[in-house]
Symmetry: C3
Subunit: 383 residues, 3 copies
């Protein structure tokens, strides 16, 4: 909707417009949730279906639900590190297949809901491993951890369903913490590096470099996939914009808010430069601004609040878990988003039921239609 | 009811009685929940309303719901430390205003339910700050923390509503722990003192002074507002008695139980002297004895059990959180009271639904009327 | 069912068969849940009833519900250590009596549901105490802790009832952690030994002795009652087989899985030798394989998965809690079993509602009858 308006504003000549419109319509099919694809692949081979499910799972990590975004993100990961790309691929496949085997709801599997936790578990196992790249034994915990994430996702969904809350990335956060606790830093088979808390003192009093801090903002988007390189991070941001431009804006904004929160708490410089200060803010901002709530100026302010709360909670939790060498992963953003979903008052009016969450632009359209058409209905069902 | 009966027992002469009765009736209007005040201020200015809401919030910290008690407590806090008094005032106002802005239920706001967590957050931020009094930068986290407490309160209320449980002071406990973790002891902007666990060894083998231990019992009531001075603590106790004499008795009793528990576990002397051993016991005792359950001899025994459980859990949690320099605040009492509210069996029969909780004396009266009037009704709705 | 079939396969002569059948029927009355006993003791003295309730509570620790199994287990505990036997007896009695006093549901009390947490609390207090055997002051926390477990059990049951989940041994796990935190290692009245995390480094590079590791498998069953001696452990295993042979197999299997998990994570040798690596696996395996789910090949695979997840989580939690000297007790198995009970998909079809859980063999029979008889009914109630 948003892009469409922009295009129309340029007022092109008629023939150009009709051709441009056709191309544009084709392109539009590739944005948003790509629901049409599901019908198309319905009677195709299992391998193709699995690929689409997996790519949706890859995109779900960053709250997008678009296989093309997933493909772009996967390319970004292989670009950043082929080993990490491989681990991510295996993780998403292992957990999606586990979901099929233990008989999880097929609509959920097709939506990639059983893939993203497995992928995150695998990526983080790879990042924290101190055994170096291409350490093939790591595939054992990668497979087991990814498979376990399906169990966690299924169980937590039942638990949280009571309040119409999503299991989100709670499974990943639980499993990675358990894995790191299980192995410890000096495990003979699966050694890993301890996480450094952001509140740790700088080794020497170095000056803060402003350019590096600003560079950390797009890196914050990449850190959602545990990637600290600028190119892949920008590519990942592009994949988000492909799904929903509104979401892309929130991602950058949230990461900036997170960096600001980090500055106000004087965290380690490395934490700001690497984007680690920003990624919880980005996730917290994206979840509230447009995804789980219809976008509006009010929701926007709540999204900023959510970004700040996510970022500060992340510093707090990182300092706490850092005392035993553990990372706080995305606990802060997940808990904050859950809190926002539970909120009563003016935010609640914008809340979209979990089962009906689509791309922000589409949520917005559905709501306008809905409000225009049947205001009475809504009021009657409000009770 | 309770005071009234006592007065009648003195059997005064008729004219005295009628005058005394008038004065007494006026006084009685100032005790309990002061529901009449709400009607009176309904069409008054917003500032006056906000003041009443805020004062209710101040009193709610100690489970009272009476603006006069709130005023007395606020005076006690300014007496103990003007800076702490100011922080408390700002905290309760900031969170009440936030609740108004984000559109929380107006009846809840008017009842002071959105003020007490913000007040506690502010008071504890002030107490733990090592930057000294009148450090104006502290107002930034005070405002942000107080505002966040409204988000937490709203979200947790939705979560706990399932079991008809109150959000109580969970928001305060969560936020203060996150704040202290976020800043750390050597933060350049907001430094704070680490908490000392009660199980820490005494520096040298000093004798325990009995008088100081007994003095710690009333101080335990003051420690609910993070105040360690005797005068203000007694004034706070007076404010509780103004709301409900029964509650005042439970407060002192609970604090005594907490001190006893502390003695049995050989905690640090300072912990006993300062009243820190007593305040969780006091809160646990007050919540069960009269507030959330109709007062009776059975409830009384459960209140004692709740005080012991709160006090021992507090020692345990303080020792745990003390390993990372964090205080256990009122986690123990809040968790214990929540457990008691979930209990089945004989205690459940006395439970008052959260929406109908009033001053203990009034709960008692409502119940007698209810039991006298319609026993059949009760049995039929019991299913 | 299972034994019966085996017996029939031997095809004995007619007279022998009729006599054998009689003896066998008598014996069969002593296996499984022994529901008939309840009718028999209904109008007997309170002391006899209490004894039966207590013995059921003793057996409940290992998920069995059979007073004879309880008696055998108690004998095993007295054999291993008379002091531990005494503590266990007092614990189970104290909590069962507390449940009677605070008016808990009488069917629950008669089923031993209020005994097993108290027993575990007492046994573990004894095991961790560094004051030696026959330290009579320990009876104070034993009584208080056992009584508290009833409060926890009642409260948690209300909380978890929402999802038809059992409170299981959560009360024990919470109370023992609070107790150990409360007293600390150098408490003057109740000192205890700190727990050693399984990931701790070996003092010197010793060889792993295979026989000792295999010996650790049956010890894992004994460790459920905090017993590290072989004889008593085998007797406890016998008691489980008396209740349900299927459960006995799962216990040994789960313990073996736990040992395997321990080996794969290179835990301390002592952890493997003592059976501490195995007991969470055993509990996780027993809960899923037959007890809460009807036994089948599918459930069996889930039981193995549950054993692995319990065992790995136990290593993780033990390493985490070990940093503050605390044991992980049976947190891992309890959480894993809870997760399994929440699972959707193919496992859910085998789930038995908590109120209808019986011995695995009987669950199996009930299900066959149920499936044979009224398939339509089931489908209609499935909605």
């Amino acid at each position: 909707m948003w892009i469409e308006t922009k295009t129309e504003m340029r007022e092109p000549s008629r023939s150009q417009a009709s051709f441009g419109r056709k191309v544009f319509d084709r392109l539009m099919l590739c944005t948003g949730d790509m629901d049409n694809l599901d019908k198309y692949i319905k009677d195709k081979s299992f391998v193709l279906q699995l690929a689409v499910w997996g790519l949706r799972g890859v995109a779900r990590v960053i709250l997008a639900n678009n296989p093309l975004s997933g493909a772009v993100i996967l390319a970004a990961l292989y670009w950043a590190s082929p080993w990490q790309g491989l681990l991510g691929t295996l993780g998403v496949l292992a957990s999606t297949l586990t979901a099929v085997i233990i008989g999880q709801d097929s609509a959920e599997v097709a939506g990639g809901l059983h893939g993203f936790n497995g992928m995150l578990v695998s990526l983080l196992m790879g990042v924290f491993s101190s055994a170096g790249d291409w350490y093939w034994w790591l595939l054992v915990p990668v497979f087991l951890g990814s498979a376990t994430s399906v169990f966690m996702f299924s169980g937590l969904t039942t638990l949280l369903d009571n309040w119409d809350l999503p299991a989100a990335v709670f499974p990943f956060n639980i499993i990675i913490v358990l894995y790191l606790l299980c192995t410890g830093t000096n495990n003979p088979y699966f050694p890993h590096n301890p996480a450094m808390p952001p509140g740790a003192l700088e080794p020497n009093n170095t000056e803060l470099i402003a350019v590096e801090v600003i560079r950390g903002i797009p890196l914050g988007v990449g850190q959602i996939y545990a990637t600290g390189a600028l190119g892949p991070s920008l590519l990942i941001l592009g994949a988000v914009v492909l799904y929903s431009p509104l979401m892309g804006i929130h991602a950058v904004l949230g990461s900036a808010v997170g960096t600001l929160a980090g500055l106000s708490m004087a965290v380690r410089h490395e934490s700001l430069y690497s984007g680690l200060s920003g990624f919880n803010g980005a996730l917290g901002c994206m979840a509230v601004g447009g995804l789980f709530f219809t976008f509006s100026w009010r929701t926007f302010l709540f999204a900023i609040a959510s970004a700040f709360l996510s970022a500060y909670s992340d510093i707090a939790l990182s300092n706490l878990l850092g005392t035993v060498g553990l990372p706080a992963c995305s606990w802060a953003a997940t808990l904050t988003a859950t809190l926002m979903l539970l909120l009563t008052g003016s935010l609640k009016e914008y809340r979209i039921p979990i089962g009906q969450v689509k791309a922000p632009e589409r949520n917005l359209r559905t709501r306008s239609q809905w409000e225009a058409g049947n205001t009475e209905d809504r009021e009657s069902t409000d009770v």
